[in-house]
Symmetry: C2
Subunit: 283 residues, 2 copies
């Protein structure tokens, strides 16, 4: 595995790979890799000849009072994980390499980014789509792999690719969970033991929604009410939003039908955690 | 020459060209080609193996009260010009091919786009950078050629390329002028004979600025004053802006030094015309 810090150097390596007809799979991350990232890497290895992982804690997607400074970092461990998983190139640019001091250009997906996490994290998705556009131009992958745990991000990146004609396929990979259902996230590190014990209620509330819907419930309000009641049994968990929306445009719905996303965000101690459920209904 | 209307088709052709090691030169236009465009095509032919010209009157760069509908179009004549100049691919997408009905993604270069033409045409450069990003992703050129006549556009596109890491070189090509100095522009078509006679005062005012500066004038206000007095001798010409700024960030300057842009826009009848002068000073 090659660890590369310079854009020009990575381009040279990948140009050579592509020129021999190899397909390039790309897994962009902010590091502190967990089994969710590993699932992305394994899917990339399965579908592509060459796998590139990037680690870059992107400052433009953090709000001024968010956890950019505190975000966990451990490059040495991450490099070992990538090496073990057969990653070919680990791209670890500095902030200066990615953003010149006179950086002025931003990419924005409108509407899709207004609700859910976009409502509580203004500017977040603008930072995501900007850095993803940059990374796509640097890596020029054939396929890029994103976790379904970050459902809105996945849908926003798919829209970015379609609208700006990036010549690549975005592949969504299902969330990986701890045994008690908690979705893997680098931010789980912020949880103290009591909070860690409370956090799986997010997954349990989604499972409850799944059951209700399987039993035939189609009123979004009733599904949400049941979820809220369950979430309220954990006083350490403060719900930020709970949404039942169409996956197509993330618009809230009253009656469940078609492709539906049940998504929530909650504060648990210092951590802001998100989780979700994709459901396809024929009613 | 192949005339291509579909993105997927163009990609297939260009993929084949690139795979044989050929370099791709790209000239994006809005059609109604004149000798300024021809100069871009010739420069592209000189520097690259394969030349792609696009013709697309991009709706997102026109304001609601601007001349999108009236903008002159003549594909048949344009195709002849391209054929004659040895263009390899003429890309003529429909509006639907470029913008799906649920299009939501925009690319914006901040600050550089606030002054000059950006001040009188809000949203214009956002439309330009969005369509240029799309076209770059579709064509994936090694070099893209833009006219220096649209000075701000050239600088904004260069910034777009640097900031978003597009892997290509932007080449600026000097304006081509009529015998009386009027810069070639598709919008010159809007001028009636009297207006056409008045319009070269734009170039004459820039030439006057050039003389004053060559004689040692370094006060921007004095250069501007002399230009304005000359421009006022033509009552058919209404000045929209007159700027003397640094090429680096388009910030207005009081004292001329370094790389300077003298730029102006004026209304002449129904036409909005722009022209400019790049000057490098060692003082």
């Amino acid at each position: 595995m090659k660890i590369v810090t310079k854009i020009a150097e990575l381009r040279k390596f990948l140009e050579a790979e592509r020129s021999t007809g190899k397909s390039v799979g790309f897994v962009p991350t902010m590091g502190y890799l967990h089994d969710g990232h590993v699932a992305l890497v394994r899917e990339a290895s399965k579908q592509c000849d060459v796998v590139v992982v990037s680690i870059f804690v992107n400052p433009t997607q953090f709000g001024p009072h968010e956890d950019f400074q505190a975000y966990p970092r451990n490059l040495q461990r991450d490099a070992k994980v990538c090496e073990r998983e057969g990653v070919d190139y680990l791209f670890v640019p500095s902030e200066e390499e990615m953003y010149s001091s006179d950086f002025l250009t931003f990419v924005e997906v409108q509407e899709l980014t207004g609700g859910l996490c976009g409502a509580s994290r203004p500017g977040h998705f603008k930072g995501v789509t900007t850095v993803v556009a940059k990374l796509f131009n640097i890596v020029r992958p054939h396929k890029a792999f994103f976790g379904e745990k970050d459902a809105q991000q996945l849908l926003v990146v798919k829209k970015l690719v379609r609208d700006l004609n990036f010549d690549l396929e975005v592949v969504g990979v299902p969330a990986v969970r701890e045994k008690d259902g908690l979705a893997m996230s680098s931010r789980n590190k912020y949880l103290d033991p009591k909070e860690r014990k409370a956090a799986p209620v997010l997954f349990r509330s989604l499972s409850l929604a799944n059951e209700k819907i399987a039993e035939g419930e189609r009123e979004a309000d009733k599904v949400k009410q049941a979820m809220k009641e369950l979430l309220e049994t954990e006083p350490l968990v403060t719900l930020e939003y709970l949404s039942i929306c169409r996956t197509e445009d993330l618009k809230e719905i009253d009656k469940l039908s078609g492709d539906v996303l049940v998504a929530l965000a909650a504060r648990v101690g210092k951590a802001r955690l998100i989780d979700n459920l994709f459901i396809s209904l024929n009613n």
